[in-house]
């Protein structure tokens, strides 16, 4: 009797210790994930003094100031006063928003029908069957950007697409197309064929059935593909740095350019970094479900 209760309490103690270890590791990793974000946001309201002394907590350690945001022309005092820096930042922001919404939308428009066709119909063009066509699309994923970089730079120069929004949008569409097709294929494959067969018996064409019946059913999955594409486009730096100068440059290229010129003026670098990561942090918090869905549906069954 005594022995078994002793045994039981030891087991309980073991379970408690295990709990503590699990939550300890989880909290430690949460801290590792969130501290850099906290650091960046708070640094954007630091003064030079707070930076050099390594103060960490606003209102407690130091009095926040709009220093960093003023340098960007985005502090409450000067947000409505036109300034060169404000125009630059706003133009980059607009570009980023346009690129990272239009390109994914275009990729869905091109990719969703392609994925649908590949799951539902049999194609035979010369030696190329469905599997070859799918492979053709998805294999674009392994193409490193450097391979296309130089030929595209020269090509864009001759097409007058250098430093234009259209040029970058086309390129970003190409970049996210494999992922869109991959995810969309999985979505369509999970729907039973009977749906369209019934519609086609009622006189729908294949396009009619696709648009009226299949698309509404797969909207959540396509939304996941769209959001994942938005993340990729918003964060893209390589091509933006190479193919754009003043008109079409996006936020990451601006952040990189400022990194070298701002030196220790951390408050303004922090402000600009905050600006470039904040939208996606909100996307991450509120649309986590879709991101997880997009990543797992594409990767785990494909």
């Amino acid at each position: 009797m005594n022995r078994s209760s002793n045994h039981k309490s030891m087991n309980q103690a073991k379970a408690v210790v295990l709990r503590i270890v699990i939550y300890g590791i989880l909290l430690a990793w949460t801290f590792i994930c969130l501290f850099p974000i906290y650091w960046t946001v708070t640094t954007s309201v630091k003064t030079a003094n707070a930076v050099t002394q390594g103060l960490l907590v606003p209102f407690w350690d130091f009095v926040p100031s709009w220093n960093g945001w003023r340098a960007l022309g985005l502090s409450p005092e000067n947000i409505f006063a036109p300034s060169a820096m404000r125009e630059t930042v706003l133009l980059r922001l607009t570009n980023s928003v346009i690129m990272s919404t239009v390109a994914p939308a275009l990729a869905i428009v091109l990719g969703a029908p392609a994925a649908y066709g590949l799951t539902r119909f049999e194609y035979r063009w010369g030696r190329f069957r469905n599997n070859d066509i799918s492979f053709f699309f998805v294999s674009q994923l392994i193409l490193p950007p450097v391979v296309l970089a130089m030929p595209l730079l020269v090509l864009y120069q001759s097409l007058n697409l250098l430093d234009s929004r259209l040029g970058l949008i086309l390129l970003y569409t190409l970049m996210v197309l494999p992922i869109v097709i991959w995810i969309a294929r999985d979505q369509f494959a999970s729907l039973p064929n009977e749906l369209e067969q019934a519609a086609m018996v009622d006189g729908c064409t294949s396009w009619g059935a696709f648009i009226r019946i299949i698309l509404p059913l797969t909207t959540p999955g396509l939304a996941a593909a769209f959001i994942l594409s938005v993340i990729m486009c918003w964060n893209e730096y390589f091509f933006s740095a190479l193919l754009t100068r003043t008109n079409a440059q996006t936020l990451p290229a601006l952040v990189a350019a400022q990194t070298s010129s701002q030196g220790i003026q951390w408050w303004s670098m922090a402000a600009i970094s905050t600006l470039s990561v904040a939208p996606l942090i909100f996307v991450g918090i509120f649309l986590e479900r879709y991101i997880v869905r997009g990543l797992t549906s594409g990767a785990l069954k494909g």
């Binding site: 064929n193 294949s206 918003w234 951390w266 470039s276």
Partner: protein, 370 residues
């Protein structure tokens, strides 16, 4: 597919005669467009090699021609083949788009990789045979960068171990799972360029960065993170891990959630310890998911460039350079178009061989163990 059989009898409904007239109209349209486009390309090529001077300056005409030809091709498919053509229309635009954006530039790249083209030189460009290949073979920085890629790819395995551990914890019976999941996901959302400032340039800054302060408290007197070659490589890999572990956690967690609880419960009833459950059941069942995760991650890792470019620019002495960042700087700093493009093409071939081998070997391995 079975949808095929249902729709194929619907085409028959249309009267045969209009169909044939439509067909011939479609054929005519396609033939005309193809001939016109072909003429345009020939004129442009002749112009490019200086034989004729009727072409337009640059290549816009060819690209406009290609776009127009693509539209006609899609249209004529519907005209010629009816419902069958309408089905081709699902895939055709995407294919034409990718061909236009990838195949032409790649072919073009193959040509310029055998030239001495330098954007800074005023002499234009000429073919220089195998000079670029010879230069590549003796370019220690390129081979150094390739060597660095081995470290970075090996880093993926370390990331995998950490991510697997975290996924196991998230899969345990815990409270506030949603909170942890979102918090763990966030680093994946951030732009690599911003991260390289947030962590690399400010938190790890020698004088005022909190990481440097932490390192000093832990007894590292001189926390210069990016000065010693090996350490610089390790810290770049660490930054990269910080951004990419969330991606692996998500995939592995989804894999773990798909494992049936009954199996593990049954094993527990039979007296298996937690560790035995993990190594004998969970881990083998996770092999396919693990492999997909690592494979995808390596594909992305082979493109690694952003944080290296913005944080160390390849330094110190090329110790952190990735192949991508090295080629990028070859373009940007030395305007060496021909040589850089050759390196990129060679790199692509290496990637394809490496990934194919990996796919083959791991398939065999999984088949043998599962």
């Amino acid at each position: 597919m079975t949808a095929e059989s249902v729709t194929s009898h619907m085409i028959v409904r249309r009267p045969a005669r209009t169909r044939s007239r439509r067909q011939s109209a479609g054929r005519l349209l396609l033939a005309t467009a193809t001939i016109l486009f072909g003429l345009l390309v020939v004129a442009q090529l002749l112009n490019a090699f200086g034989i004729l001077s009727i072409g337009f300056s640059g290549w816009p005409a060819v690209y406009l021609g290609y776009t127009a030809w693509s539209v006609v091709l899609c249209l004529s498919q519907v005209l010629i083949r009816g419902e069958e053509g309408a089905r081709a229309l699902f895939v055709l635009p995407a294919i034409l788009f990718v061909v236009g954006m990838v195949i032409f530039p790649t072919a073009f790249g193959l040509v310029i990789s055998f030239t001495d083209w330098n954007l800074a030189s005023t002499n234009g460009w000429r073919f220089n045979g195998l000079d670029n290949i010879r230069e590549m073979l003796s370019d220690t920085f390129f081979w150094g960068a390739l060597g660095n890629m081995c470290y970075y790819v090996a880093g993926v395995l370390v990331q995998y171990l950490i991510a697997f551990g975290l996924a196991l914890l998230l899969n345990a019976e815990i409270r506030a799972r949603k909170f942890f999941r979102v918090a763990f996901l966030l680093p994946f959302m951030l732009s690599p360029v911003a991260v390289s400032w947030m962590l690399g340039k400010s938190m790890m800054e020698y004088r005022f960065g909190p990481m440097a302060a932490l390192a000093r408290t832990l007894g590292w007197e001189d926390p210069a993170f990016f000065v010693h070659p090996m350490l610089a490589r390790v810290f770049i890999a660490a930054l990269d891990a910080w951004m990419w572990i969330p991606f692996m956690v998500i995939l592995l967690l989804a894999g773990l959630q798909a494992i049936s609880k009954e199996l593990l419960d049954a094993a527990k009833v039979d007296g298996a310890t937690g560790w035995q459950c993990l190594t004998q059941i969970t881990f083998p069942l996770m092999l396919p998911v693990s492999f997909t995760t690592i494979f995808l991650r390596i594909i992305f890792q082979l493109k690694l460039a952003d944080i290296v470019l913005t944080l160390t620019a390849g330094g110190p002495g090329g110790a952190t350079d990735t192949v991508s960042s090295f080629i990028f700087r070859e373009y940007r700093d030395r305007s060496n178009v021909g040589y850089g493009t050759l390196l990129a093409q060679v790199y692509l071939i290496m990637i394809v061989i490496f990934l194919t081998l990996m796919l083959k070997l791991s398939k065999r391995y999984i088949r043998h163990t599962v």
